[in-house]
């Protein structure tokens, strides 16, 4: 009697025999590409994390778990991790919420020129973060920056701060700049998502006397669970791989208080020539990404992708 596993194996082989083209280009080729360009680098990074290597010497020194042991006692690692979490919170609170609000406002025609607004808000998504960083370096410059000048002109001079120099706010400044560039993406997702919510649902809520706030929270949001799940996942990964803005705008300054894990990997690998430790921090990012994504999909967004 054929077991279930044998039966499935047989099924796949039968499928492959009957669909050679699909098997080759739809399964084998993508798996090979994934294995070469994603799988191998991941495996090699994990392998490298057990070594000490300056990136130049022909040989690497096996150090076992020493890099991991160092990482758990490294103050810079914890500062970077904390900054990534701050970045995530700001990104969830600012571009995601704002993106949703703008999308809703456009759908209910509460704003003028919605197409123009949509284009304007989505435009920064298409910009390189390096360009965005350089632009905001000028805008927030304490000597001639436009932002401080506008604040002073509006009588809000007391709000003027050292946006990059004050270690207490520098990471939030960066996260807000990142948020500015990212807002268009959640907006466009929510805009499409709200369009799929049956109009009758909104009409019924309106007849029942619901205002915009209630319609947003009680009608739109519950039906946009899968969209929110996608947006939150994207935000999570964007936050964990934050690098460009730090590299362009602060390089971790002031005194390492704007380091994030992605920049720490670069700093340790290429600047401090410690590729083994850089790989260890990369593994930490990988584990964190998987852990947070699994946690979210298993709790808050459980079943969000079920069809």
């Amino acid at each position: 009697m054929m077991s279930r596993i044998d039966d499935e194996r047989y099924s796949f082989l039968a499928f492959a025999r009957n669909h050679v083209f699909v098997t080759l280009f739809g399964i084998v080729a993508p798996v090979l590409l994934f294995a070469c360009f994603i799988g191998y680098p991941i495996v090699y990074t994990i392998y490298l994390s057990f070594f000490e290597w300056n990136g130049m010497a022909p040989t690497k020194t096996f150090v076992g778990l020493a890099n991991y042991s160092y990482m758990f006692g490294d103050k810079y690692f914890y500062i970077s991790l904390e900054n990534n979490l701050k970045w995530l919170v700001v990104s969830l609170a600012f571009p995601v919420v704002l993106g949703f609000l703008i999308a809703y406002a456009m759908r209910v025609r509460a704003v003028y020129f919605p197409t123009l607004l949509r284009t304007a808000i989505f435009f920064p998504v298409t910009m390189s973060l390096v360009a965005v960083g350089l632009m905001f370096l000028l805008i927030l410059n304490p000597i001639f920056g436009a932002f401080d000048t506008v604040l002073r002109a509006l009588g809000l001079g007391f709000l003027v701060s050292e946006w990059f120099g004050d270690y207490r706010i520098a990471i939030y400044t960066l996260a807000f700049v990142g948020g500015w560039a990212f807002t268009g993406l959640p907006m466009i997702f929510y805009f499409a998502g709200i369009g799929d919510v049956p109009k009758e649902t909104f009409d019924a809520a309106r007849i029942e006397g619901a205002g915009h706030l209630r319609m947003m929270l009680r009608v739109a949001l519950p039906q946009l669970r899968s969209v929110t799940a996608v947006v939150v996942m994207l935000t999570l990964f964007e936050s964990l791989k934050a690098f460009d803005l730090i590299a362009v705008m602060t390089k971790g300054a002031p005194f390492g208080r704007t380091n994030v894990l992605g920049y720490l990997v670069y700093l340790e690998s290429f600047w401090n020539s410690r590729f083994g430790y850089g790989a260890t921090v990369s593994v930490a990012i990988l584990v964190l990404s998987i852990a947070i994504a699994t946690l979210m999909l298993g709790t808050v967004f459980r079943g969000a992708f079920d069809v």
Binding site: M56, N141, G165, K251, A253, F255, F270, W271, N272, R274
Partner: protein, 436 residues
């Protein structure tokens, strides 16, 4: 009737074909030997300023015009920020550059230790570089008695000052630390920031720190820190950090100094908002601006003043240096190109296109403004007793923690002891504990 003599037989055909083929091969060989393909050299350099790129292109073009049929050079550059990242990859590749830019000090030591840099001592003798180049710059190229790089551009750190402000406030050029501080107080009272500091990217504050350390406690103490013989938690290092903290607390630096980057700092400097700026001579490029000659505002310099009864020491360092890759198959030709780079002709052009100062001690400075000539002469006369700033002297991992710590102290976020302890922790990780 016999066969005609001009009839094409198989033998004749083969003979003729062989003759034609042989002749063609012989002529081709002769042609090749007469016009042998030139030796190809690759020069990988760091173009930190737009003028650096212009000058490098000029260097390569001029060389190729004169020697291209024998030794042809191809350049490839990376901007200043990303050079270090690319350098590791380039040097470890299977086809590394023959000649490449390298920093002095800690980074150079890493490159040498990794075996990428050829020993250039024989070329120093062959081309007489140890006599023609600035003595301090040659000292910095020496590691364990061997010379591993050739400095092409040198720099010195001095106190730049606004001449017009000095005159307006009736100040005289200080020769001691106390005189400089007295001037600083007068400037502060007049609403002018005594010192410019553009510390957003954290490296500028170390200039003043190392000058204070050397001039208060002597070169041996400072060099002990750099050479890993004295721990960073040494009371002298902590004291200098505390002095820097006091300067910041007393409002001696321009406001928001931890938010101002090097280039934007030119704006308040030009506007006359600061009196002094302790910085490297590479700043002359910025002082010039779009003008052909320095400076956009009346500027002069003086050496960092004495802080003790010892004669003050000027920091002279190798701003640009080149190494020859140990794996290069054409080291002799590469050395010829390097000799062209430090020749009087190329050095004179460097002053014209790029920025001061060329490492060749005999470079003609006569067309530079008097102030720049004076600095060039001071550098030539300084001898070989000098020091590098921390980020040049130590490996990047140590200097990075040091710079972070110093920035934290100036921001009032951590204490001098904490800053030096963090630096020492990192130094121990790199070089181990110092045996006492």
């Amino acid at each position: 009737m016999g066969r005609s003599s001009n009839k094409l037989t198989r033998r004749k055909f083969l003979r003729t074909t062989a003759a034609i083929g042989g002749g063609a091969a012989a002529s081709a060989f002769g042609l090749n030997s007469a016009r042998a393909a030139p030796i190809e050299l690759r020069y990988f350099y760091r173009a930190a300023w737009p003028t650096s790129e212009t000058y490098a292109n000029w260097l390569i073009d001029e060389w190729n015009k004169k020697n291209g049929d024998r030794v042809h050079v191809t350049g490839s550059s990376v901007d200043g920020e990303t050079y270090k990242t690319k350098q590791t990859i380039e040097l470890s590749s299977s086809s590394p550059p023959d000649i490449f830019y390298s920093w002095e000090g800690g980074r150079a030591a890493e490159i040498i230790k990794a075996g990428f840099s050829a020993d250039l001592t024989p070329y120093y003798q062959k081309f007489g570089w140890d006599k023609s180049l600035n003595p301090a710059s040659v000292t910095l190229a020496t590691f364990d008695g061997k010379k591993y790089f050739v400095p092409t551009e040198i720099g010195a750190s001095v106190v730049w000052y606004r001449k017009d402000l000095h005159d307006k406030l009736g100040l005289s050029v200080p020769t001691t630390w106390d005189e400089m501080m007295a001037n600083a107080q007068k400037a502060k009272a007049a609403g002018i920031a005594p010192f410019m500091l553009s510390n957003q990217k954290k490296w500028p504050a170390q200039f003043m720190w190392s000058a204070m350390m050397v001039n208060k406690y002597g070169l041996d103490a400072y060099q002990g820190l750099i050479d890993n013989k004295i721990p960073w938690t040494d009371p002298r290092a902590v004291d200098i950090t505390a002095m820097m903290q006091k300067l910041a607390e007393d409002g001696m630096f321009i406001p928001d100094f931890n938010s101002i980057d090097f280039a934007p700092a030119q704006v308040p400097w030009t506007q006359g908002k600061a009196l002094y700026w302790y910085m490297g001579s590479f700043i002359l490029g910025s002082f010039r601006g779009d003008q052909k000659e320095c400076c956009q505002v009346p500027t002069d310099w003086f050496a960092f003043p004495a802080m003790s009864d010892k004669k003050p020491i000027m920091s002279i360092y190798d701003e640009d240096t080149v190494m020859i890759h140990a794996a290069s198959k054409n080291k002799d030709e590469a050395a010829e190109f390097v000799d062209w780079m430090v020749s009087p002709a190329a050095s004179a052009k460097k002053l014209e296109i790029d920025k001061p100062y060329a490492s060749n001690a005999s470079t003609d400075l006569s067309h530079l403004p008097e102030m720049e000539q004076r600095l060039g002469k001071a550098m030539a006369d300084a001898g070989s007793y000098t020091f590098m700033h921390v980020d040049h002297g130590t490996p990047p991992a140590i200097s990075d923690r040091f710079l972070d710590g110093l920035q934290g102290v100036l921001a009032g976020a951590i204490s001098p002891q904490e800053a030096m302890a963090a630096t020492e922790t990192e130094a121990e990780r790199v070089r181990g504990k110092i045996k006492t």
